[in-house]
């Protein structure tokens, strides 16, 4: 018999009507209010704005049709998706071994220091970091000077103001973010899984491929999704490092606001961007589970 039964307290049964407890609602109200005030209402305002004509007001779908009919507009979406995909893949490939070394190879007592060093780039301003990369990648920057002085290239390479520079700036940031999520995932993994695999005759590679990797997939997917969302909506990095040699969606959105103040078109482009993020979420939602078996 259960303790509850022993104590004589009635246990709630499925289907029984319980008196409504105000406490859960009281606890969740601030979060709901916050979401309503700072997400739902602004989103509604943006949605309505996107259906309004810039000149003269009134309902219109022209802001959306501009995106789908003007090649230079949807090219911005293609550019954004390409850059985001490249950044996400490279960041995962770099972050996983880094996180694995931190979690598995670095002694426990040094892990905290190693983690702190790993997140050190977060301590500086995002803008300053981007401009620093610009100087590193510039024609007279560290990399080109090293390459030319070693005789590896005759002329400085064009590294700054390119997609390569944008990707580099992004990867520098997101590798750290992904390392943290994957590290947390690896640390939570019980050693029993690996011992069991070894008992059953699996070698290290097989254990990794069939046990560790599948079990850390949720951490990878959470980190990759965060990378995708933050990267596809970022304006600063491509603006500073990309040299405007191609436009990404956030740059296209900002362009509508600067001089002309075309908020309806900017809103429509933002909603299209949000729709793409939603599709990405739905595509990987099955792996974005918080609970652990």
């Amino acid at each position: 018999m259960s303790n509850a039964a022993n104590s004589g307290r009635a246990l709630p049964r499925a289907g029984c009507a319980l008196p409504r407890a105000p406490l859960p609602w009281a606890l969740v109200t601030p979060a709901l209010g916050w979401t309503l005030l700072f997400f739902v209402l602004p989103f509604l305002a943006m949605g309505l704005s996107s259906l309004t004509a810039h000149e003269g007001g009134g309902f219109t779908l022209a802001n959306y049709s501009q995106f789908f009919t003007d090649p230079s507009y949807w090219r911005a979406m293609v550019n954004s998706l390409e850059v985001t995909a490249i950044v996400t893949v490279i960041s995962v490939l770099l972050a996983y071994p880094f996180a694995w070394i931190l979690a598995e190879q670095v002694p426990e007592r040094w892990q905290r220091l190693a983690l702190m060093l790993a997140v050190l780039p977060f301590w500086t301003s995002y803008v300053v970091r981007s401009y620093s990369w610009l100087l590193v990648l510039a024609q007279n920057g560290v990399i080109n000077r090293a390459l030319t002085s070693l005789g590896l290239v005759a002329e400085p390479l064009q590294l700054a103001n390119t997609r390569f520079a944008t990707v580099t700036g992004f990867v520098h940031f997101f590798v750290m973010l992904l390392t943290l999520t994957i590290f947390a995932n690896l640390k939570q993994l019980s050693p029993s899984y690996r011992k069991a695999a070894a008992d059953l005759g699996a070698g290290p590679v097989r254990t990794f491929l069939h046990v560790v990797l599948p079990l850390t997939l949720p951490g990878i997917m959470v980190g990759a999704f965060l990378t995708f969302v933050l990267c596809i909506g970022d304006y600063i990095t491509p603006q500073i490092l990309g040299g405007n040699n191609e436009l990404l969606m956030p740059q296209l959105v900002m362009m509508q606001i600067g001089r002309r103040g075309d908020f309806p078109l900017a809103s429509a482009l933002s909603i299209i961007l949000m729709a793409v993020v939603t599709v990405a979420y739905l595509a990987c939602a099955r792996w974005l589970k918080i609970e652990r078996a």
């Binding site: 024609q139 064009q158 040699n245 002309r260």
Partner: protein, 356 residues
């Protein structure tokens, strides 16, 4: 129904934004002067003498682009702002929205302004003056004279030829650079129409093919200063003068095709609660001392609109003050398209940016 909901949402958002803006405005007080500005007005060397002389705190908020500035006003409560810095050509936009107060011409040094930069076509609406030009300059060719042949910089053909391919940056603002492209193909900036856009686009694409980057103010300035590029299309004294001490090799030319004249103005808000102080601020900025400080602001240099600005000989030399009459004679007005043409020009610019 939908428009009602929009109005309600907008009203609430405005109120919330205004409340947040006030909270963030470092304790604005009733006696403060609240100014919507470009970065050159944020220089303490410019503001401090006015604040000390009048016992007032000038709260500034920087913005880039008229659209962004007008959006801030739209999201604020009437009376939140006292003065605004704005592109001279955009003053009619503010007047049309009922934002600005006519300025008393008899209390401003209009007679001392360079005649060509008064911009009465924009700053005077229906016979009333709503703005006064405070600073001007040229969107033209900025370059490093140790890296390029200055003689080549006397023609815009250098921007599309092979000689400087990969050594060029383009300033990322469509109106002045479209103006330059128009000049390059022999069009007058004041007479541009939609029919001119295909030829302008072709010229822009040729420039883009030669360019290493298309950058906003800081990026293009950095590229020229660090040697990443040797030429900046759309550059001028606003890029080279401020860097003259560190890099005296930077210079600008007014090519034979001409240059685009930019100018910024000061306007006073109709709903300002501090109009006397706002006028004093405008008078200070337009005074010889204020003009010298504004012209040499740490953010960017530019020619003072007041010909009596108290600049030192060295500052005048850097700004090429004595050459202004000839520069102004060859400069053409900033393109001032209507809303429809403006959108089409921006679309041409977008196509240029996306071109590979």
């Amino acid at each position: 129904m939908s428009s009602n909901l929009t109005s309600i949402l907008k009203a609430h958002l405005r109120a919330a934004t205004a409340a947040v803006a006030l909270l963030l405005s470092s304790g604005a007080q009733a006696a403060d002067l609240n100014a919507l500005i470009w970065c050159d007005h944020a220089d303490p060397a410019l503001l401090q003498p006015f604040e000390e002389a009048n016992g007032v705190k000038v709260n500034v908020k920087e913005f880039e682009g008229t659209g962004a500035g007008l959006a801030i006003v739209d999201q604020s409560q009437p009376g939140d702002w006292d003065v605004m810095v704005i592109d001279s050509i955009d003053i009619p936009r503010g007047v049309e929205k009922g934002l600005f107060e006519p300025l008393p011409e008899d209390k401003l040094p209009l007679a001392d302004l360079f005649a060509q930069v008064k911009m009465d076509g924009s700053t005077v609406v229906d016979g009333k003056r709503y703005g006064i030009t405070e600073k001007f300059g040229y969107n033209t060719i900025g370059y490093n004279k140790t890296k390029v042949d200055p003689a080549d910089m006397q023609s815009m053909a250098a921007l599309t030829g092979d000689k400087y391919k990969g050594k060029i940056a383009i300033y990322d603002y469509y109106l002045p650079v479209i103006g330059m492209a128009a000049l390059a193909i022999g069009k007058k900036t004041a007479e541009l129409t939609e029919a001119d856009l295909p030829a302008i686009k072709a010229e822009l694409l040729k420039m883009k093919a030669n360019a290493k980057l298309v950058g906003e103010v800081t990026a293009s300035q950095t590229a020229l200063a660090t040697g990443e590029v040797d030429i900046l299309v759309g550059g001028g004294e606003w890029v080279t003068a401020g860097l003259a001490k560190e890099n005296p090799a930077l210079d600008f030319s007014i090519p034979k095709e001409g240059a685009v004249l930019w100018s910024q103005s000061l306007a006073m808000f109709k709903d300002s609660k501090n109009k006397d102080m706002a006028l004093k601020f405008i008078q200070y900025i337009m005074s010889p001392e204020g003009q010298a400080r504004l012209a040499t602001s740490s953010c960017y240099w530019g020619m003072p609109a007041n010909s009596k600005a108290a600049l030192t000989d060295e500052q005048k030399k850097i700004l090429r003050f004595d050459e202004q009459p000839s520069f102004l004679a060859r400069a053409q007005s900033y393109p001032a398209p209507n809303a429809d043409l403006d959108k089409k020009m921006q679309d041409v610019w977008t196509e240029m940016l996306q071109a590979q």
